[in-house]
Symmetry: D2
Subunit: 293 residues, 4 copies
């Protein structure tokens, strides 16, 4: 149930808490502290007030708050004792489809993490691929205690920013979405390449999982961005273009088998809220790509 | 045992036949016919004379000659009743390492082929990857009888040209080798990329088999060509460049994870005796490739 | 004075003629013939009706109509006895600023043309640079009489299409404008190049005349297209980018003097109603361009 | 008259001085000091000994030595009272073909320079274009006295290194030559572009002076480097490629007029002893270049 910022600004504490409380999981005091600072001119300002409430809390309160977060891929995720928002987010990186071996790996990393830091591993899974979560686990396990505590809070702020953007609509929305787009230019004829098959894969370990499949339109673009309307999960990707078919259909000589058939462009996304434009310029004998805009 | 063309030109028939006879498998009459046309100014002329002997023979003789060739991947390859030259060549495309399923597929294609045409499937395996052999099987099964008979003879001529180039040294050697090379230019600094890891994979089905692993030298090239001194097997390949490590080692900002890490260039080779130069021009944010020279 | 198509559709002949008559210079019968075919659903349909009136006229009428057109760069242009529309159009390609020598050349070509064909040289000057007009003169002087007569009519149709688009507003406007744009991507840092100086030159003979001067914005584009809202004059152009200054301002090493300083992109426009996107991808050591979209 | 290093090593002082004396203009003491340090294993070591003799001299001696150098573009160049080596070198940058205005500019810069520093402006003209000499004049006029004195000595060392490399042949020759080359790859067909016209211009002020004109060979290269066997003069250059003709001759559609006709690549040379490879990759609709190797 989405609420407008102006309606929210007019609410008494109980109603306010019902809306924004679930944002900061199991910590109703955050909503209460924020309510005292309203009304808010922007949704971003509301989120800033909620973050400020966490930052201003005594360390013991912060620690309790962090400890209250569910284990990623852990027992809590199975037992159903987490908020609906948590459940939804964990699905997006494929953590709900772990193999037994992966499940054990995640679990064991999580145990090592909790043993070292005394709180569960928290990460905004909507901003990461499965691969990236594993990398972050390994990297953050090496942190000092205070660095990691700050990192955990930052991840909570990413999570809550997304939740708030889902829950409240109004002026000054925080930037929580990114965009991945492509464009194919056929420099053999100096025109956009229309009707070329394009696939997007998320790379995980040695595997590649197709997450989009489309065809270029008359302008050489895809009708919709490859990813949009949500954070771009940090991770490795591969675009695959059916360049060989494109020229075969136009009876352009390119060798038998053609010098270029499926052209893969492999790249990583590091900024979930950024715009990644990854175009292809091609002839039957050459191609180039770049991070565009 | 390699013989010089001038020595060969001076030989009586029995010695001559001992040298060039195995070239045209189980067909001593080809060597005899060629001997009558000597001496030869070039090795290419010697091979032309041997091909002419085959072309001039009555169809029944030609057919018997073709039928005498061993089954590819078939019983003959297991039983050891083929010439040493055949055995060596079949190994080069990995046909000696077929899985049981692949073995059955090849065998069944071979049976269908023999049933349709009345002679075994002949292909110069040193000029093809395993993938390409399968493609040729499927394509040639659709041929008319006379087209396919000509194709089979042409493949025998490819095979014998290679054998002759192995057996005789002299003027006018036939062109039987190709070359695959690369070059990495770091256009971020306008210099060759030195010390960059490069791997070459042969693609087969959905798999990729690494066939070379090297590092660029100070000129951005590899010390030796990636493939040289033999035909380039027709097929699909992928070069992989460690672009991410290159820039990480030079502390050049490229994102975390880096926008470009392993850069794959996927291409096909169609001319076994050609020169394929497949360079990479890169920055941390862009790359291009082309069939060069 | 611009009139709407619906108003025009409701007009009696005299008012109708006052609006669209000047479109087909000194030939009121064209407007009259078109009026009889109205009302028109689109401005394009109105123009088609006017062209049809010309095509349906007896050859002698057509010839008189063509002969009534003013001499390009000739006496008529000086004496002021042409319509206001003609005068305006001839200015746009710089024909009003010819040197004495150029004036004589144009005049002599025009005389040769009239001597051969019996009517003045007609060209839609808004669709051509000065250079292109000269080229067309030379090319069309070699035409056969009937081919050239058709060409002259076609040019009149280009002229009148532009005039009609200026005079009448409504549904289904004819496409009479093109667009030239650019974009600079700095692949050294994987971002648009902001604040880079860009100049556009029209090339004429051995000279270059600057027709635009601007700076890229934060997205690497120019705030306005380099040419828009009118036909792109057919001819040769050069874009010049201040790449050296861009990297000097960012303290990026590029040599002394820098390997790339002013980067010129020289290209021609052949389709006045087309979209030409001519981007630059650059590092201090490399650049590329292409006809984009 | 070229002498071998081994012959030179065996010479008594008078003969030795006759060979290498003119290298350090009007300073026979340099040759004498070097002779005492012989024999030399390499020509580079000989030059190092001569430079060392200059560096070890008292400042007054150095100053006298520097002052003895002829005025660039000044009276000495007209009166014939300089060594043959000086005369030859000044010709190479076109200083012997100055217009009256340019002559006055050079003369006035030279006067300002002498007034400030007390010695003539010395520059190794074989390492600079006319444009670059003017730039150096302006830049060096701003130097502090001691910085400029060191710069003047460095220029003398460049001059003498070139003279020595002309006068003595032997092991360990100093690197005094550079190379400028190009290569055209037609990525429309994936092959080198053969028979394409290429011109090289030296840019000076707003003008362009053609210094080479050639045609690509079957490998897309020029039979000889564009510049080789001498230092590459520091300065601005433009390569021009007849891309339009190339595709017109092959009946490849590229627009009328063609989108690309003459393609200019404008670049600077900063390292006279370096290798500049400036290739062109092109289709009728795109091109790219880079500093290659």
């Amino acid at each position: 149930m989405v609420v407008s910022l102006s309606d929210l600004n007019g609410m008494a504490l109980p109603a306010f808490e019902a809306v924004v409380g679930p944002t900061f999981e199991l910590a109703p005091w955050v909503a209460a502290a924020a309510h005292a600072k309203g009304p808010f001119a922007t949704v971003t300002a509301l989120h800033a007030a909620m973050m400020e409430a966490v930052r201003a809390a005594p360390h013991e309160t912060q620690l309790g708050f962090v400890r209250n977060h569910p284990d990623l891929a852990g027992k809590a995720a199975r037992a159903g004792d987490i908020t609906v928002e948590s459940r939804h987010e964990q699905a997006s990186a494929g953590l709900d489809a772990l193999s037994d071996e992966e499940f054990r790996l995640f679990h064991s990393l999580n145990d090592a993490y909790k043993a070292k830091f005394g709180f569960p591993f928290i990460i905004c899974v909507r901003r990461h691929t499965r691969d990236s979560i594993l990398r972050q686990f390994e990297r953050r396990l090496k942190h000092e205690q205070d660095v990691e505590f700050t990192t955990a809070l930052q991840e909570i702020f990413y999570i809550t920013r997304l939740r708030l953007a889902d829950a409240v609509i109004g002026d000054g929305m925080p930037k929580v979405t990114g965009r991945l787009s492509t464009h194919v230019l056929d420099t053999h004829v100096g025109r956009p390449a229309a009707g070329m098959g394009v696939e997007l894969y998320e790379l995980a370990g040695d595997g590649a999982y197709r997450i989009a499949r489309t065809v270029t339109n008359a302008d050489g673009r895809t009708d919709a961005p490859l990813i949009a309307g949500k954070p771009l999960p940090i991770g490795r990707y591969e675009l695959r273009f059916a360049v060989g078919d494109h020229y075969r259909n136009r009876a352009v000589e390119g060798g038998d088998p053609p010098f270029l058939d499926i052209v893969p462009l492999r790249f990583s996304i590091a900024e979930p809220e950024g715009h990644y434009h990854v175009p292809l310029l091609c002839t039957p004998w050459s191609y180039s790509t770049y991070r565009g805009s």
